[in-house]
């Protein structure tokens, strides 16, 4: 569908322009460095959410523990940068591979689990991670409770002098670049045989098995790839936030990721962006509604979405578009 690509192109263009959008009233940038930083977080979460979506949306395996992979990716990146002076861009492939393996390994026992039980096991994983990160003998690497402080990278080739590009803006573009590659890769995978196999396993496991699909392999791989995406997002966080600490990776991160996937839209790729927007910006609005209980608002929104928009924002948009097209078609036929 050519129209499809038009929308993608437009969104990418818009994304590219964000740090430079002028404020019509003041003549300077519309978005401050902090805002750009927030948009970077949106992109990072989008990558993490896409990862979770591959596992839960497309393959039907519920994970309440993706915060664990996020943490692993972040810590791998942080340790490489802090202890081994690895440049920030090189930490991503390493984090990716480590998380791919860790995810795949977790996927193996997970093969025996379904539905609630899998949710439970992953819930346990999410709860256990902060404890593991604070574990005394590992402190020389993880920095214990204090975590690891890093420094933000500078734009290369002196771009910050020639183009006035701030650190935050550079990180934003870098993240956008990574996101585009990863989204493109995911799209190809999910549209092809792999994607169909994953969905077949989700919709009717036994039938998929009898059709000759190696369900065990696909399910473990789904876990691995999903963890890889979320791990890369974690490594990007280490770069963008320049700080990692055990308590930033508690159960709430895992919950936020699941929330983001559901709100954005299960088994959709653009949904990840909406999910990211939700995760990053809702706490602000929730805080406005109730200073002391923003999470209560979060919880209520979550439940309401299940009743009103179970297919997420993107799902609702798709349905709206389809309904519109149907209407237009029947209107045309009536003429």
């Amino acid at each position: 569908m050519p129209r499809h690509y038009y929308w993608i192109g437009l969104s990418i263009l818009l994304a590219l322009l964000i740090p430079y959008l002028p404020n019509p009233f003041k003549g300077e940038s519309l978005f401050s460095d902090f805002h750009v930083f927030q948009f970077t977080l949106v992109l990072i979460y989008a990558i993490a959410l896409l990862g979770l979506n591959i596992l839960t949306g497309y393959n039907g395996q519920i994970s309440l523990g993706h915060g664990a992979f996020y943490a692993v990716g972040a810590y791998v990146g942080a340790i490489l940068m802090d202890k081994y002076d690895v440049p920030y861009y090189a930490t991503l492939p390493v984090a990716a591979i480590v998380c791919l393996i860790v995810g795949f390994l977790f996927g193996l026992p997970a093969l025996r689990l379904e539905g609630h039980y899998l949710a439970l096991a992953t819930f346990g994983l999410a709860l256990a991670v902060p404890q593991l990160l604070k574990y005394h003998p590992l402190e020389p690497w993880t920095g214990g409770v204090q975590g690891i402080v890093l420094s933000k990278p500078d734009p290369p080739f002196n771009l910050h002098e020639s183009l006035g590009l701030s650190q935050d803006a550079w990180i934003y573009y870098f993240t956008l670049f990574v996101l585009l590659i990863m989204f493109w890769a995911a799209r190809n995978m999910l549209r092809g045989r792999t994607g169909r196999a994953l969905v077949a396993i989700r919709d009717h496991h036994m039938a998929a098995d009898t059709m000759g699909i190696n369900t065990s392999l696909y399910k473990s791989l789904a876990f691995g790839v999903s963890a890889m995406y979320t791990g890369v997002a974690g490594a990007l966080t280490a770069v963008a936030v320049a700080y990692v600490a055990p308590d930033s990776f508690n159960i709430l991160v895992s919950i936020s990721l699941l929330v983001g996937v559901v709100i954005g839209g299960l088994a959709t790729i653009p949904g990840a962006i909406f999910g990211g927007l939700f995760i990053v910006f809702t706490p602000n609005y929730a805080n406005d509604i109730s200073k002391a209980a923003p999470w209560a608002v979060y919880g209520v929104v979550l439940i309401l979405f299940m009743y009103l928009m179970p297919f997420g924002v993107w799902g609702a948009i798709l349905r709206g578009v389809r309904a519109l097209e149907k209407y237009r078609k029947t209107a045309k036929m009536g003429q």
């Binding site: 819930f123 709860l127 593991l132 574990y135 209980a293 979550l302």
Partner: protein
Amino acid sequence: MDFVIQQITSGLAEGAIFASVALALVMIFTATEHLNFAQGEMAMFSTYLAWTLINAGVPYWLAFVITVVISFAGGVTIEYVVLRPLARAPVLAYVIVFIGLLVIFNSMAGWIWSYVLKEFPSPFKAFATGSNLIGSHQLGVIAVTLIVLTALFLFFKFTPLGLAMRAAAQNPVSAKLVGIRVGWMLALGWGLAASIGAVAGMMVAPIVFLDPNMMAGILLYGFASALLGGISNPAGAVLGGFIFGVLQNVPTIIERLLNINVIGNELKLTFALVVVVAVLTFKPSGLFGQVRIKRV
């Protein structure tokens, strides 16, 4: 030797609490075939209600009973208002809603009562056990848990209502076809689970101090216990709780005997996780649960 016995008895006492939480979880699972991730937070919230009553001068056991009754009503209401509209939604939708509830209860508690730790009284302090191997509260907790368990066991196994609840959970359509009012059964299940959770909360609060986050780890231990014992079996879940309670102290005992310090107290949650995964992988029906056979 004293040390070992103390570790075992404290393990049993903690195990009693895990057993209570496990019971509540088995309750909901039995009634609805769902695992309620918000169970811990609901129990915590109930405990805060009890604290408010006690602080206002209500005698302990009266506050206890009132809290249990209110929790029952609360559980029924939640089932009716929040879960009934979901009806035949997929598992993921339920998980999301439970997480939503978890988050709501947690923040509301923090908002209403703040995050400052509070003391919660134990009704058993009046009785001295005359032994330094086990404390009075610990003994009391174990006793309460066993009483609740026995009552529930008898209820499910031998009463028509208990049987009807099990049937309604497993096969709501067939249950309707024998005249069971399935909606009431679900609500009843939730009410019972909420009450049991309240009891668990009130038993644990004197030990760990009342705080909005007190149940998160305990919830996981409760799950681990329920799975270990068998999620479909109330007695098994309780046994699982006691076993798990002692089990988590075994590394400490061994290390003390060998004079080393590897795991210590820091990795208890990880230990729980490992137990959960191991049980689910090798014996999903738990030690005492019914093995569920699926005929295609």
